[in-house]
């Protein structure tokens, strides 16, 4: 499919805590990236970040909510960038409260690496004040 300059692929997805629903949302984002010919490395980075953001939302944000409570995933992809917003319905959290998993004393901890990976792979990642909505931006490298 020919992609025209300035073209966008946008969608708002409602995702429930079910592996196939999460995979469908990831596939939809990957489909948008494929449309703009993002490289394999870029797709890997973005898909992993999305997966970690949604997993964190269900595991932590929705810990005390009914299991059917959905998470919202909105994205806006173009040839230059993709912006993804993942919003859960939980009470929010303080991202600065997560211990740095790369410190020697935390290396053997079983969890707490999702946000680290998101920040490493995305160009920008910031939570809203409440801490239940993560906005991530990936700016495509010149050679990808």
């Amino acid at each position: 499919m020919a992609v025209h300059q300035g073209e966008h692929d946008r969608a708002v997805l409602t995702v429930v805590n079910d592996p196939s629903a999460i995979e469908r949302a990831e596939d939809r984002v990957v489909e948008a990236l494929a449309r703009f010919n993002y490289s394999r490395a870029s797709v890997f980075a973005i898909r992993l970040s999305l997966h970690e953001a949604v997993s964190n939302g269900f595991r932590h944000g929705h810990r005390s909510l009914p299991s059917a409570t959905p998470i919202s995933v909105a994205f806006d992809a173009s040839a230059e960038t993709i912006e993804i917003t993942v919003e859960d319905q939980g009470p929010g959290f303080d991202p600065s409260s997560i211990p740095d998993p790369t410190l020697e004393e935390n290396l053997e901890r079983g969890s707490g690496r999702g946000l680290l990976l998101i920040r490493a792979y995305m160009s920008a990642a910031e939570y809203n004040t409440k801490g239940n909505k993560l906005r991530m931006v990936y700016r495509r490298p010149a050679d990808a």
Partner: protein
């Protein structure tokens, strides 16, 4: 779990347990739990397990999978065994590198290299 639902391939040779993932994506927490349980059973079956986990087929993995690997490594060490990881593609290796888990998990290019590294 019945063998037909297994998500890993296992080969045992000369006291060495070689594990390979069947799935290309090691992302879903439920699947990761199933895989961990299967591997934990293998660990418990040896007094001093020497295990190689190959990532030859793996294209994506999540932080939940990393957490599971740390738990499995600790289980093996508790039995004075040794764990090696192998066949990790550059993208997946970067995940280990970002999280610095390459400093506590031994990673080798191939199963053969991993097998030679056991002490």
């Amino acid at each position: 779990m019945p063998a037909s639902e297994s998500r890993i391939r296992v080969k045992r040779t000369e006291g060495l347990i070689q594990v390979e993932f069947i799935d290309r994506n090691i992302l879903d927490e439920g699947n990761i739990r199933s895989i961990s349980d299967e591997i934990a059973t293998l660990i418990e079956s040896e007094p001093k397990p020497r295990m190689i986990i190959s990532f030859a087929n793996v294209e994506h993995l999540s932080s939940a999978a990393l957490g599971a690997l740390i738990t499995l490594n600790n289980r093996i060490r508790a039995r004075t065994g040794q764990l090696r990881l192998s066949n990790i593609n550059p993208q997946i290796f970067e995940v280990f590198s970002i999280t610095r888990l390459n400093t506590i998990l031994q990673i080798h290019p191939t199963n053969e290299d991993a097998a030679k590294s056991f002490v």
